[in-house]
Amino acid sequence: MILTITLIALLVTMAFALIRAIKGPTVYDRILASNALGTKTVLMIAVLGFVVGDPELYIDIAIMYVLIGFIGTVAVLKISEFGNLGQPQSHTETEDP
Amino acid sequence: MRNAIALIVILSGTWLLLSGHTSPLLLSLGLVSVAAIVACAARLELLDEEGVPVGLLPGLLRYGPWLVIQIIRSNLDVAKRIVNPKLPIHPTVIHVDATDHTEVGRVTYANSITLTPGTISLDVSEDAIEVHALTEEAANDLMSGEMGRRVQRTERP
């Protein structure tokens, strides 16, 4: 019962994060929304494991997702900050309007 | 040497926790992968106090519970301000002194600040941490230096 409520709340928060990702307005808002959505995905998979009745498998997936999401977000931030993945290079980031 | 043993223990624990298998074949395969990782870490010279900070563990165990209480307290405060639009938010940028901290200490300090809702570390330099605070209370709380003193105690066990 409470798991169902948690699941629905997770879906609602995912929708909220999606709205923030669409509205922006800055690049960082979108990255933040994408990252928050990643956290919710992980929680959702963990909760789903208990709803479906196979928590062992789903928790493994959730752990994998946290690690992948972390690497993805940091890579995106590195690009948005330095314009590349860390190689010495002149700053080529396009200017915000 | 102590660090290598600690790393072996940590990796073996992680492997056992995540796999849950105990058959001899899979256990020996796990052992091989642990050995390979430790060998790689040794060759990359990651087995120093920075790579495997076991010396910090007792201090962190004492620091952890206090941090959890702080996180819950400031969570309630931030949550109240989000729910009730009448309560004002007052974003400020402050600089917290971090001259007396070691490198690991500054990292712990900055991460603790970020982990506590209402304050986020923006930039870490040699002697100070730039912090964005949601409210004046959160900023004043941080400026009182209680967290800094507690982090300092974890550095020197």
Binding site: T6, Y28, L67 | V83
Partner: protein
Amino acid sequence: MSGLTDLLSMALLGIGTLFLLIGATGLLRLPDVFTRLHGASVTDTLGAGAILLGLALAAGWGLLMGKILALLLIMALLGPSTAHALARAATHGFRKPWLHETDKAEK
């Protein structure tokens, strides 16, 4: 005893759900990136923490509980790193934090 654990687990899940929703509201309602980061961190710390603790209690003693607690630990360690990286990137991207009106008047 088992009934008590169930009750505690349900209470933790309820608290987590509540903070999840509050954090998401903050993500939508607050005025700029930095303040929104505060809102997101409410979800990431207490929301995720309470939900995962509730699930760990529901799982009972065993490997599963260990895995859930490991997940919680990983999230607690990686979360602030991501948040700090985001805040730093936003500062370096010349996003001036939205400050209170009185502060602006002083400057």
